[in-house]
């Protein structure tokens, strides 16, 4: 049951890894999960399962990850610090491990005011770096955070997120180093549009030798429309879209129906090809949110098929 993480195997083998994201349904409709899973199976090495992303209540990341695991897909369970204290986190991790989940992405979590229960209380007992450090200790010492022995096995391939475009910019690489020191074996970045700035960020990463201490998967998010591009640029904190890309999306919009989506995919494929050539980038994370059906096309056009079977 507890075979090794496929993601870890691919990364350890030195192959360029591909992951994507799957958003669970806002309820119990498992057909949604199964349908999305069938679209992406075989095209990626592992699939991130979001944990009530943007603080909107959805099917739990544990349950959804378990379903993916049963369908033969390697899930990367996301766990945010917003909704659980250290007691709930450890308990859910034991649960996740028992259900065959082997990858975990530690995150702070979007603030609850963004979601559909903005009046709720948050937890933030620990932050995402402390979370990494706590779980790293659990897997290395086989002890719960309190120091008591864990009954049975416990392991997780631990990852963290990095936003190279958040502020203060100079601190971003230091924060990445902190996550690595805390135990992150892989890193998935926020979606990248400003390639020049990301290249600059990766140079700082290499200068500190961080690319040798962790696997970095660069995030891409295909743009569906000019409107979406404008919205993301203006409303999503920490996302920067250069004018050149905005103009490309604007021109595509004027070219007629369906052309924007086509251009968005084209940009995404170009980005992946460029990211692949950056030293220290070990893979790509395709965040085709509610557009999972486009993942096979993107992965194929980027020349990343077939996926390794290890």
């Amino acid at each position: 049951m507890h075979q090794e993480s496929n993601l870890k195997k691919v990364l350890d083998s030195g192959k360029f890894a591909v992951t994507c994201e799957l958003g669970p349904p806002k309820g119990t409709d498992l057909d949604v999960v199964k349908e999305k899973a069938s679209l992406i199976k075989g095209y990626v090495d592992a699939v991130n399962v979001t944990d009530n992303q943007t603080a909107i209540v959805r099917l739990s990341s544990i349950a959804t990850s378990h379903i993916l695991h049963d369908l033969g897909i390697d899930p990367i369970m996301q766990m945010v610090c917003r909704d659980r204290n250290r007691i709930a986190m450890q308990s859910d991790l034991f649960g996740a491990y028992s259900l065959g989940i082997k990858n975990l992405l530690c995150l702070s979590g979007d603030h609850q005011t963004f979601g559909n229960h903005p009046e709720s209380k948050n937890v933030f007992d620990i932050d995402s770096i402390q979370q990494l450090s706590m779980i790293n200790k659990m897997k290395n010492e086989k002890k719960a955070y309190c120091g008591e022995e864990i009954e049975g096995d416990f392991d997780m391939f631990l990852g963290g997120a990095s936003n190279p475009f958040g502020d203060p910019y100079e601190f971003r690489v230091i924060r990445l180093a902190k996550k690595i020191n805390a135990g992150a074996k892989f890193i998935q970045t926020q979606c990248i549009y400003d390639m020049d700035k990301f290249e600059d960020f990766m140079k700082m990463v290499r200068d500190m030798g961080l690319h040798k201490k962790t696997y970095i998967l660069a995030g891409v998010l295909p743009l569906k429309s000019f409107g979406m591009a404008k919205y993301m640029k203006n409303n999503v904190a920490g996302v920067q879209i250069p004018d050149e890309l905005l103009n490309r999306m604007k021109t595509a919009k004027a070219a007629g129906k369906g052309m924007s989506a086509k251009e968005g995919i084209k940009i995404c494929v170009e980005q992946i090809k460029r990211l692949r050539n950056i030293e220290g980038v070990h893979g790509v994370h395709v965040m085709a949110i509610e557009w999972e059906k486009k993942v096979p096309q993107i992965v194929e056009e980027a020349g990343l098929l077939p996926r390794p079977e290890l």
Binding site: R82, S108, I129, A161, E170, F171
Partner: protein, 228 residues
């Protein structure tokens, strides 16, 4: 200081509508500095109630001088002594602590809050207040350049800003400064940026509200009743 905000007058009217003898107790400290619950505001509420109930037989009084601290029993006992008859209802303009102290001293009289207690903060300029402390009981300001991430980061993160920090502002609202941007800038000014590399460990929240209700006894200050 404790920053407070007056409740809407409609809510206060609702509290007192069925009472004849109404006492408005102002507080001379934080609530007065906030210009929300001091002597002047107590008189103002008294005026508003008189106007609203002008055709009803009500006896409305306001008590407060600048020395009054509603969180201290000696002052509240003094207020009680000044009452010729016990009021039917009291509107306390002190913080949550003040309301409870008034209730403890007056016991049989219903005490209603005339203000909402908001946060521990600073009076940045006249009429401007901002949150600075959450009373977590284990101060870490030595590590964070004198800027508190527990109270000033919307997620109380202890190891740097989340990905939502943009142009110095918090993802929650662009009127909120990102505490970690402030910490970063301050540490840079102090030439102490290396502090940003330290991993601040998981916090022990027992010193905060999470350890249960808190109390403090300063032994050397407590007067021994037997010796007296």
């Amino acid at each position: 200081m404790i920053v407070v905000k007056r409740k809407p007058i409609k809510e206060i009217l609702e509290f007192v509508k069925n009472s004849k003898n109404i006492l408005i107790a102002g507080c001379g400290t934080c609530a007065a500095v906030c210009l929300e619950g001091g002597e002047k505001e107590a008189a103002e509420i008294k005026g508003l109630l008189n106007l609203h109930f002008k055709n009803e037989d009500k006896n409305i009084s306001a008590l407060c001088d600048s020395a009054v601290r509603l969180c201290d029993p000696e002052f509240v006992k003094d207020i009680k002594l000044k009452c010729n008859v016990l009021p039917d209802v009291i509107i306390s303009l002190g913080c949550g602590a003040g309301v409870q102290m008034v209730s403890d001293i007056f016991e049989s009289v219903p005490v209603f809050p005339g203000i909402n207690t908001t946060f521990l903060g600073t009076n940045d300029e006249l009429g401007v207040f901002s949150e600075k402390c959450q009373g977590c009981g284990e101060c870490i300001l030595d590590k964070t350049g004198g800027i508190c991430p527990v109270s000033r980061c919307s997620k109380s993160l202890l190891n740097g800003p989340c990905g939502g920090s943009s142009d110095g502002k918090c993802e929650v609202d662009d009127t909120i400064d990102c505490a970690w941007q402030l910490i970063f800038d301050r540490l840079k000014t102090m030439n102490m940026l290396d502090k940003m590399q330290e991993i601040i460990p998981v916090k022990d929240w027992r010193t905060s509200r999470d350890g249960g209700v808190r109390a403090m006894v300063k032994e050397e200050a407590v007067i021994d009743k037997n010796e007296e």
